[in-house]
């Protein structure tokens, strides 16, 4: 398998953009707390001062600290492991399962791009090992984002289909604040993996992804619009690209 390195520009691009925003938000929060501290007295003033100092410190040092973690998610799908494997082996099926990503693949390299509010995340990955109907292992190619893991397929006992699981390790240059923001917009690594597997299950079983995006509603108002951000509605189908099922 050939190894293709991503260009050096990518690393700098990622580091610069996101850490700027991360640093800025941390410093802004620190400044806000400092302003509040000014108006308080006694022990609560010290609490705010310490809090603001901490946030400023984190903002300044954020770019240096990598975030590592591991994710473990499993779903059971009412299809045979062979059907599920065939579905997963077709990269265009991933577009339905990962609608916020752009995925380009050649024979050897899969390039994934994700647009988040803070930055464009880009990562090249390669399949390192696979066994038909059983597992697919991948790892990221050198780049800012590191990740590797294995997708496993096991027959579920009692004729219940396939246990599809993902075990993944990752390292990304992001501080806890950025991660918190990512979690809010649904881009936390565990959430990403979980919702991807859920969408794969929905496509394989029901043939569509449930959605309410585009349905009517009454006047939302300020509170309603803010809540819209939390209850972000997923699109069901990518327009122009009908869901393809294993076996098509």
């Amino acid at each position: 398998m050939t190894i293709k390195t991503s260009s050096n520009n990518d690393r700098h691009q990622f580091g610069k953009k996101s850490s700027r925003i991360r640093t800025a938000s941390s410093l802004a929060a620190g400044a806000a707390l400092a302003a509040v501290a000014k108006s308080r007295r006694g022990w609560s003033r010290w609490a705010f001062v310490l809090g603001s100092g901490y946030l400023v410190y984190r903002g300044v040092t954020a770019r240096q600290r990598p975030e590592t973690g591991a994710v473990r998610v499993a779903f059971t799908i009412e299809k045979s492991p062979e059907e599920v494997f065939r579905f997963l082996s077709e990269p265009s099926n991933w577009r339905q399962a990962l609608p916020e990503f752009t995925i380009d693949s050649t024979a050897d390299v899969i390039r994934i791009k994700l647009q988040t509010p803070a930055a464009i995340l880009e990562s090249d990955a390669e399949i390192t090992d696979r066994a038909e109907g059983s597992f697919i292992a991948w790892r990221s190619l050198p780049g800012a984002l590191e990740h590797r893991g294995v997708v496993r397929l096991r027959p579920a006992a009692g004729n219940r289909g396939t246990e599809l699981s993902v075990a993944m390790e990752y390292a990304m240059p992001a501080g806890a604040i950025a991660r918190g923001l990512a979690s809010l917009s649904g881009h936390d690594p565990e959430q990403l993996v979980r919702e991807t597997l859920r969408r794969i299950k929905q496509l394989l079983e029901a043939g569509e992804i449930p959605t309410t995006a585009g349905q009517p509603s009454g006047h939302r108002g300020a509170k309603g619009t803010a809540l819209r951000f939390v209850f972000r509605e997923q699109p069901g189908e990518i327009p122009g690209e009908p869901a393809r099922l294993a076996g098509d």
Binding site: R194, K201, E205, A206, G207, T211, T212, G214, P216, F231
Partner: protein, 396 residues
């Protein structure tokens, strides 16, 4: 189109909104001819269900005519007259295949949110907050129905809307509540709550062979309707102790099965009631499980407690010692609609039952906010409000 939108606690209003459209290949759009207000809608009205947003369209009991279908729809076609169940099911997951339709894996777009509360997500529901998917509901002139082939019940012409509308929720709900009691010959079934679901549970219990049904409530018109179905009644405002009363009425054994058709907004007297109401007001707990406590305490040893009443969150002070030591079976859940709709339609067509008996008020959609208040406060002997989305309101 016009639709009834939630705008806050005790604040629902009819607004003009976009017409629904096909969003997914298995969808259909229905032109709604009749819809109703459910007892569980009152939990939304009273602000007890979290994850509701201003602007959400309510309503989950509706029927009408199919006007448009998605490209993967085959069983149902434009022009068909259908009753739509309040649960949405894909038909292909493990749960659907095992007739556990209200537990469908694949119909809640906000499954991640329900998982935070419940561990796993049940199926999507119409018009019942974002935790169940945030689907626009059916107190409107049109609705979009996902997986219409799986859910929609086709009804023949010639049978009035009012006789089949309740196949969308309350009749199957009362029936499943009774079926879950595992009724044997000679059994006495006690039912808390003589609202519409309770009324259907009473009649279903007799259909399933109960010897005697004892119905518990405090509103005279509801008790009267229960007596009309040959139930014995207990007015809990007038007796000292419901549990003692039930023991006396069952030869000292206690009822063989107890149905909680009330759920999280139970009303009662005394210290337990005050405890629950205070906690609910302070937002420490969502639910007031007065009836659940009574049902567990009253049930005979080895009996069944059946819970169609809706609960949302956590409940306090449940006599679980009583439940465990008496060896009770508890059965509960949102109704597995697709199991019951056709068999119950058959019964209606045969003449076994006319479900329209529960209707006390027929309003236009514009009058729905009035209907909510009336239904909640039991004004004007209100038992069930049915809405016609196309009727003009009476001039003021």
């Amino acid at each position: 189109m016009k639709a009834l939108c939630w705008q806050g606690k005790e604040n629902v209003r009819v607004e003009t909104v976009d017409d629904p459209k096909i969003l997914n290949p298995h969808d259909a759009v229905i032109r709604i001819t009749r819809t109703a207000i459910c007892g569980s809608d009152l939990h939304l009205y009273n602000g007890f269900i979290p994850t509701l947003e201003p602007g959400d369209i309510l309503g989950h009991e509706f029927m009408g005519e199919v006007v448009e279908t998605g490209r993967e729809v085959s069983r149902v076609k434009p022009g068909d007259r259908v009753v739509v169940p309040f649960t949405i099911a894909c038909g292909q997951c493990h749960f659907c295949k095992n007739q556990l339709w209200s537990l469908c894996d694949n119909t809640n777009p906000n499954a991640w949110l329900a998982e935070k509360f419940f561990g796993f997500s049940p199926s999507g529901l119409f018009g019942y907050s974002h935790m169940t998917g945030g689907y626009a509901g059916g107190q409107a002139q049109y609705a979009r129905v996902p997986f219409v082939d799986v859910g929609a019940l086709k009804v023949p012409d010639g049978i009035p809307d009012e006789q089949v509308l309740f196949l969308s929720d309350i009749f199957p709900t009362g029936y499943m509540g009774a079926e879950n009691c595992n009724i044997k010959p000679g059994d006495v079934v006690a039912i808390w709550g003589c609202g519409p679901v309770g009324q259907f549970a009473i009649r279903s219990a007799y259909m399933l062979g109960a010897e005697k049904v004892i119905a518990i409530d405090r509103f005279p018109e509801r008790l009267k309707l229960a007596r009309a179905a040959k139930a014995d009644i207990i007015n809990y405002d007038e007796v000292d102790d419901v549990i003692d009363e039930l023991k006396w009425m069952t030869g000292g054994r206690g009822p063989d099965a107890c149905i909680d058709a009330v759920g999280m907004e139970a009303h009662g007297h005394g210290i337990p009631a005050m405890y629950d109401s205070t906690k609910q007001a302070l937002k420490i707990s969502f639910d007031r499980p007065l009836v659940l406590r009574q049902a567990i305490q009253a049930c005979r040893k080895g009996g069944v407690v059946s819970i169609p009443g809706v609960y949302g969150g956590f409940v306090d002070k449940i006599p679980f010692g009583a439940a465990m030591n008496k060896g009770l079976t508890m059965r509960m859940g949102q109704t597995h609609m697709m199991r019951y709709m056709q068999p119950l339609l058959d019964r209606v067509q045969k003449g076994d039952i006319d479900p329209s008996f529960v209707i006390t008020h027929r309003l236009s959609l514009e009058e729905a906010p009035l209907g909510y208040k009336m239904f909640r406060d039991k004004e004007q002997a209100c038992i069930k409000v049915v809405l016609d989305p196309w009727k003009e309101p009476l001039a003021a």
